[in-house]
């Protein structure tokens, strides 16, 4: 079983694309098992994060524009779960917060959740590799003219 720490879990669930519906299924199972132990601390809310960039001329940090995000926070008994995703994603974000809390609480579904995260992590790596693979043939090979 892969032992992702909490920060890593956050990032995998935040970036999950293809296959992210599995998060919904797992979260529904956790909720079905947990009954009244689940409290919604912050219902999924759509908002903005200001994107800050380091510009490379002087090294000045500036506000480049806002990015649409959704965040949610829940509690499973004494354990908190937090998630944020880009875009308007209330269901997936809530599911990610539930799964975060479930792993913190050592819920019986933890092995299945971590296995699901490993699959999503691999899918994201594959997506990135494919994205680079698509443009790699456009790398320029110059010929010297003599």
């Amino acid at each position: 079983m892969t032992g992702f720490d909490r920060n890593r879990r956050f990032s995998i669930m935040a970036q999950a694309g293809t296959g992210s519906d599995d998060l919904l299924i797992l979260a529904e199972q956790v909720l079905a098992d947990s009954g009244d132990a689940v409290t919604v601390v912050t219902p999924p809310r759509v908002g903005m994060m200001m994107l800050r960039l380091h510009e490379p001329v002087n090294g000045t940090v500036f506000n480049a524009g806002e990015v649409l995000v959704t965040e949610a926070q829940i509690a499973l008994g004494a354990h908190q779960g937090y998630a944020m995703r880009l875009g308007r994603e209330p269901e997936l974000t809530l599911a990610a917060a539930v799964l975060d809390a479930a792993v913190e609480a050592a819920h019986p579904l933890t092995p299945a959740i971590l296995a699901g995260l490993a699959t999503l992590d691999e899918a994201e790596r594959a997506r990135q590799l494919a994205a680079w693979g698509e443009v790699a043939p456009t790398r320029v090979a110059f010929d010297e003219m003599r």
Binding site: V46, M49, L51, L86, G133
Partner: protein
């Protein structure tokens, strides 16, 4: 035509809006998302909100009008809470999908053209055959190993190591935020860059072009243009550690002003007994792949960075006061709205002066 206060027109307004809403054959957001990604990039930039799905919806709703779509996006933005700030990201951490330099042929990591039509002819594909031809002519896809995304060292950093461009400094000042505080001049650099990053593409290109035509001393060349996916980090509210939230699509341009010597060339720096020359730089940024705007922004920034420069692009107050699409189009287009009272007032003044003049002339004739 005397002055009359009016009200009404509601039925006409509703009927006019219905003509748009009932339009047949309109694109939906999914179609815009698939087929107009560059327009989405422009709208997100001018709207100041990175939200590709909402920008597509705005474009569909605005019938393809980018400024109207940016308006819709910014109006929606005003209803949202700002949850926080990302940790400052650096373009050098971008997962590069395109990267070119027009100053050096050989750059560390090489040049990657990416997805572009920059180097092919502009021919209208009237018989719909170009896509198939392009696919047939492309070399076979490269097999990619598992080493991950290549690293592309910065071109400007190589010049910086030689002392040919200014060193960067860690400025602890909290960045200005023009969405919260009105611009004041001279603007801090952070405010300038924020204003330009959400500037209107056409305006920015025109001002950048004016600098290239010689209005001012800039003679810009692209040291590096890179676009791709930039990972964003936030501080996790429970662990308080930096965590990756996801990635946004961006294009960055580092522009170098290359005329040697004098105003608009390399800036001469150094204290007593020493003298050296450094090239002035400019920076441009745009959401997505709006390269035209990012290049224009970098020309404008470089123009403003050149000491003692002149011309429209170097006039910070002029550029920053006029680059916002919503402010400019809103003020221009508000002229379509009723100005009956304003104009009637002007009309009354002119009529009164004419009567006074006629009366004076008659009085003079009678006296004669």
């Amino acid at each position: 035509m005397g002055y009359t206060a009016v009200k009404g027109g509601l039925d006409a307004i509703l009927a006019a809006e219905a003509l748009i809403s009932a339009g047949d054959g309109r694109l939906n957001a999914a179609q815009v998302g698939r087929g107009a990604r560059l327009l989405i990039d422009q709208v997100m930039g001018e709207g100041g909100l990175y939200a590709p799905e909402l920008a597509a919806l705005a474009i569909a709703q605005a019938e393809g009008d980018p400024i109207e779509a940016a308006f819709l996006l910014r109006a929606y933005r005003s209803t949202l809470p700002r949850i926080g700030y990302t940790l400052p990201s650096d373009g050098r951490r971008m997962r590069v999908l395109r990267r070119i330099s027009s100053t050096f042929k050989d750059i560390p990591g090489g040049q990657v053209l990416g997805r572009t039509r920059d180097y092919t002819q502009r021919l209208l594909d009237v018989d719909g055959r170009f896509a198939a031809k392009a696919r047939a002519a492309a070399p076979p896809a490269t097999a990619i190993g598992g080493e991950g995304w290549p690293v592309f060292p910065s071109v400007v950093d190589a010049l910086r190591e030689e002392g040919l461009v200014r060193q960067t400094t860690d400025d602890p000042t909290e960045p200005a935020d023009i969405t919260r505080d009105a611009l004041r001049f001279p603007a801090p650099r952070s405010a300038r860059l924020q204003a330009l990053a959400r500037g209107e593409t056409g305006f920015m290109v025109a001002i950048g072009y004016s600098a290239q035509r010689g209005l001012g001393a800039a003679h810009p060349t692209i040291a590096e243009l890179r676009s791709g996916e930039l990972p964003l980090q936030i501080r996790h509210p429970l662990t308080h550690d930096p965590v990756v939230l996801g990635a946004v699509s961006l294009v960055e341009v580092e522009m170098i002003n290359h005329t040697a010597g004098g105003v608009g060339g390399a800036t001469i720096v150094g204290g007593e007994g020493e003298s050296s020359e450094r090239f002035d730089l400019g920076y441009g940024l745009a959401f997505g792949r709006n390269e035209r705007k990012a290049i224009a922004m970098s020309i404008i920034d470089a123009s403003m960075n050149i000491p003692s420069n002149s011309g429209p692009a170097a006039d910070e107050e002029f550029v920053l006061s006029h680059c916002d699409a919503l402010e400019s189009s809103g003020f221009v287009e508000h002229l379509k709205l009723p100005h009956y009272v304003t104009f009637q007032s002007a009309l009354d003044r002119v009529r009164f002066r004419r009567l006074a003049q006629l009366s004076a002339e008659r009085g003079t004739r009678n006296a004669e």
